[in-house]
Symmetry: D2
Amino acid sequence: MDVLIIGGGIIGSSVAFELAKRGASVTVVERGELAQEASSAAAGMLGAHSEFSTDHPLIPLALASQSLFPSIIAELVELTNINIGWNDVGMLKIATTNEEDRKLMEHYEFWRRIQPQHVRWLTAEEVAQMEPYVQTDYGAMYTIDQQVDARQLSLAFAHAAIAKGARFLPYTEAYDFVFDDERIVGVKTTRGTIYAKQIVIACGAWTPFFAEKLQLSLHMYPVKGECIAVTTEKRLLRATVFAKNGCYIVPKANNRLVIGASALVHSFHKTVQACSVHELLARAMRIVPELAFATFEGAWAGIRPQTKDGMPYIGEHPQYANVFVVTGHYRNGILLSAITGRCVSDMVEGKEVPFDMTPFSLTRKEGKHALHH
Amino acid sequence: MDVLIIGGGIIGSSVAFELAKRGASVTVVERGELAQEASSAAAGMLGAHSEFSTDHPLIPLALASQSLFPSIIAELVELTNINIGWNDVGMLKIATTNEEDRKLMEHYEFWRRIQPQHVRWLTAEEVAQMEPYVQTDYGAMYTIDQQVDARQLSLAFAHAAIAKGARFLPYTEAYDFVFDDERIVGVKTTRGTIYAKQIVIACGAWTPFFAEKLQLSLHMYPVKGECIAVTTEKRLLRATVFAKNGCYIVPKANNRLVIGASALVHSFHKTVQACSVHELLARAMRIVPELAFATFEGAWAGIRPQTKDGMPYIGEHPQYANVFVVTGHYRNGILLSAITGRCVSDMVEGKEVPFDMTPFSLTRKEGKHALHH
Amino acid sequence: MDVLIIGGGIIGSSVAFELAKRGASVTVVERGELAQEASSAAAGMLGAHSEFSTDHPLIPLALASQSLFPSIIAELVELTNINIGWNDVGMLKIATTNEEDRKLMEHYEFWRRIQPQHVRWLTAEEVAQMEPYVQTDYGAMYTIDQQVDARQLSLAFAHAAIAKGARFLPYTEAYDFVFDDERIVGVKTTRGTIYAKQIVIACGAWTPFFAEKLQLSLHMYPVKGECIAVTTEKRLLRATVFAKNGCYIVPKANNRLVIGASALVHSFHKTVQACSVHELLARAMRIVPELAFATFEGAWAGIRPQTKDGMPYIGEHPQYANVFVVTGHYRNGILLSAITGRCVSDMVEGKEVPFDMTPFSLTRKEGKHALHH
Amino acid sequence: MDVLIIGGGIIGSSVAFELAKRGASVTVVERGELAQEASSAAAGMLGAHSEFSTDHPLIPLALASQSLFPSIIAELVELTNINIGWNDVGMLKIATTNEEDRKLMEHYEFWRRIQPQHVRWLTAEEVAQMEPYVQTDYGAMYTIDQQVDARQLSLAFAHAAIAKGARFLPYTEAYDFVFDDERIVGVKTTRGTIYAKQIVIACGAWTPFFAEKLQLSLHMYPVKGECIAVTTEKRLLRATVFAKNGCYIVPKANNRLVIGASALVHSFHKTVQACSVHELLARAMRIVPELAFATFEGAWAGIRPQTKDGMPYIGEHPQYANVFVVTGHYRNGILLSAITGRCVSDMVEGKEVPFDMTPFSLTRKEGKHALHH
């Protein structure tokens, strides 16, 4: 086999799909079901604009990834017939306090310079016309933001990879590496040793524990994110609404709305806290008061990989040239999945990556570009 | 057959059990699964003191029913081996506002006169010692209050009735009556007509629609009650805590806590509203702040039968002497199930009921005894 | 209001959609959730050919309904954005015994005369090439058969009707009619009386109990159908496979396969029998042996309305000209939903229906056209 | 801390309970929820006789463990109030083929010599009287066999340990050891490094991958076991029925029956195969034909740790005297949990274990005592 990927989440599956398309012989090992961690828990926004209000090394990748999606979605649906729930109705950003007002304007001003054609300032009347249930004095509309069902997208990458010849082994846990004369030649798994020329580690928040076995210290920590879902009798929102207080409401099919997300650092405890349900409901009802009468459907959590400087790790191991690590996408894993699959595939093939990847290198000094939320 | 009971909830099942014990040939028709409505949704308090702060016709029945439970539970467990989750750790009533303070004291004073041996005033220190996670300045402890798993109790009544010879027909819907010369001789159901000498209608909130077919107008309406459940790593409560603001927290096995309940009048819509989840969490966290960190498990709703004067309907039909109606127990259906089974059985057998049942008659004038909450 | 529809299943929802499109003011009452009975339990085949091997009055409606679907699906998706899971990969009919061989050929010969362009006989080699996992000596391919997610289609009809102005009232149970001088002017429901000019009764297997209240005796009975679902790692089937032994296997998204269906007459008991799970698995593994290694996902049941002569009831009440009854579609409710919506709307509007509806009249003599299975 | 236990299943929890009772400071790390693997999947038989027809080193432990349960259950219920579902109605072993007849008699003869007071041969008439729904020509009744709800027992051990001062850390994954000068001083986990004087590895089927990190090669493999559950309207069985064909039917509360179990070697794939559901139903219906009409509830799988010689590993690491390994209980983990907790606690405390533990040593030569099934 050419490439072994550890981790069957959206990043591992996207890399597998891209490599399989390029002709590689790919195997993915996943210790449980596919897409069971952060990949399934995400609300599925493909919002290239959400996270950035100033220049940031991730912006080129975010924009590139966003622009890839329409064609990738079509390709995945063609190959797998999976319902990915994609749409491109855009994202309405709003503010709920004076402090947030300031940040919203900064955000708007920043993006107006970069993508004037895709961002639009809305007055209260304009908001009322477009999204009559949203309580806000004004808003900024990012017209090209898209969204998906994150779990279905992740499964679609996996099944499309399978359609292209990749092999996925669920319930197969990697627990150590096999060395031969200072080189890594394979991985020990609960199904036995699997040998591979190249290895990609894409285990989300669990990645640092693998990296440690290879003398690589990643400055990372888990951040639990909790979401709730409600349904309504009539459609309350067209676009995703993202308040600067951190609360977002993402409209899905069948009048279902996903409301996210908390951020509990340093927690692998995949349960939902009572206070998070309370707080998410409080925030969402402040933005869309009509939500008070929505039907509560449930709540869930996912464990997202965050890094100390807010930048993902995407790169080659400093000693073991055939080992690649890709993790740390935090809240941007769904958005960045498409471009990450391509960049990692370039690296694995030894091609030049068409982006500056030095900010994401595994051995970087901690950077100054922490994300603003 | 001697007796046909319409309704497989806790009231119908309790009546079936008692009648079967007395030798009657009993059939129960239930349109869905047994105990699927209010009987399953209840938090399961057997709190004879909860609802009353002044003299009330239900008090004798409530106290009698409560005192029956220890022996009935033993009998049901013996017959069915169902885990009913019974315990008698008592109920702590507390206040969260000045207005509630006043009501709490009235409540305490009322019960101290009636049952001085079972009620105790607790200072902040005493509460802190008994229930250290509860935030309150003082409380009143009702030491003989009990609780059960309401659904399991309801199923235990049904299976104990079966053990005594009764027949339960789930997925069998009654939709009309069969008359013979001005007498009712049977019931049309989706399994065909069932003939019976006597008929008991115990359909909870759906009872008035049957009663109407018999020219009986019951002054009733449905009240949706919503509950949530959380679990905690350590045990936070020993006793049930019932705040005068209407919020109660009932500790169950495995560190599970049931928090109830909302009261939405005139709703058969068995879904959970977002605002109710928010409000129940808010109230519960005010009483036990540690609940903020509990694991949220889920939410559900039940439709409870309330009457205009707050009194159940338990009695014989004014025209059709072989038809009995029993409904309207609102929040007291679990508590009153034991005594209701006995009283209705007495009526069916033509015996004298050892309580004054006139306040519950089907033809009463609307009374003045509305329940205080 | 113009029209009140009793029943929020696929038939009631389709009628509501069509009437709302034509400008009527429509209300639908449903006693529980929408699409909760047979409409959700169906495997979702739109197989106009499945049920008929000889001339039959339903064939024109079945073919017309099938041909309507591609455009209706597009319309529903446009209006509701619901994922209906529609595809038109066709249906492969096979035989598993000599007796079935004979029936399969009769079936093929019958359809070859009617739709030679849409049916094709396949040799073992041809089957092996198209559906390599199917064990059969030959088969008949019905190339235009389609399939959907039945529950999603039903919800899409409902939400599209809402988009066109209809009102749906879930948890609202109709229990009697309101008469005014020998005319029916409304319906009593658990939300109060609803007045309407015209009333459509579309309650599936529960319809005869309503009809009885209007002195209409329908010769009907419930037939429980049970299904199971499995998932596989790779795609085993492209087309739906329907064996003449009554077992069908319907491929859904994400390598999910729905296997149906049992037929237990006279049962409203919506649970799944152990022997049905056993028998469905046995039959399916005989057709596709590889299914032995599929992951078992679950089982469910639905209660379908069957009539004594196998013909639906679609028509006007003989006495109450403003009351229409539509039920008895048995295994063809999903397929016939589209055309039924149109025909009933024509009747309600007093227009001529472009099909011979006399075989479906409410007062017909029992016919000779029982369906062959 | 004194002792760190890796693994929050029934074995780790039982050891934690016993050590905490003896005064040790105990922490248990579990990578997911407690009792989520084999401990929850088991049918819960405490059948000391099930597995042995000849002398076997496990028999003394099995009998000792079984005799401990009545008092341990009482202790756990007292400490935790968890419903463990214990009863001691015994086990009826039967044969379904001639070959099984021979084995059943051997089994009976073996146990009649050892425990004549607890085993009884039953004629067809006697079986018919005791278990009228069981189809068999004769049977052997093991009157002291007991059963529990395996998951609840596992949680009760954990919560009783907590009541005695132990600390349980769910969602905390151990992934490596910390060495200090050739000694193991702690464990790296996803919550950081935890130091401990002594370490117990009790990870069920996942144990060999930890052992490997300590140069310990355990001859083990996973065996997937699948079960199904059904419910019946009336009680079909009093005792557990265990056929020599490997199928057992365990009666639980509320007329629920657990039917087990398949045995798929070398599989960590925690899904249920379609063919297993089919086969379990077929076997169970052969033993109790009435089960055909039971309601199918669902199916699940667990991954059990089996060893090459069928003997558990319970012992001290040959090099690291402060590390203990306990695994490999295969189908006897629930039964052996009580005695294992005591034996391992003795080892940890440096006391003599009152059984011959050499057959279970970590460095034994593969033995000759493979279990007969």
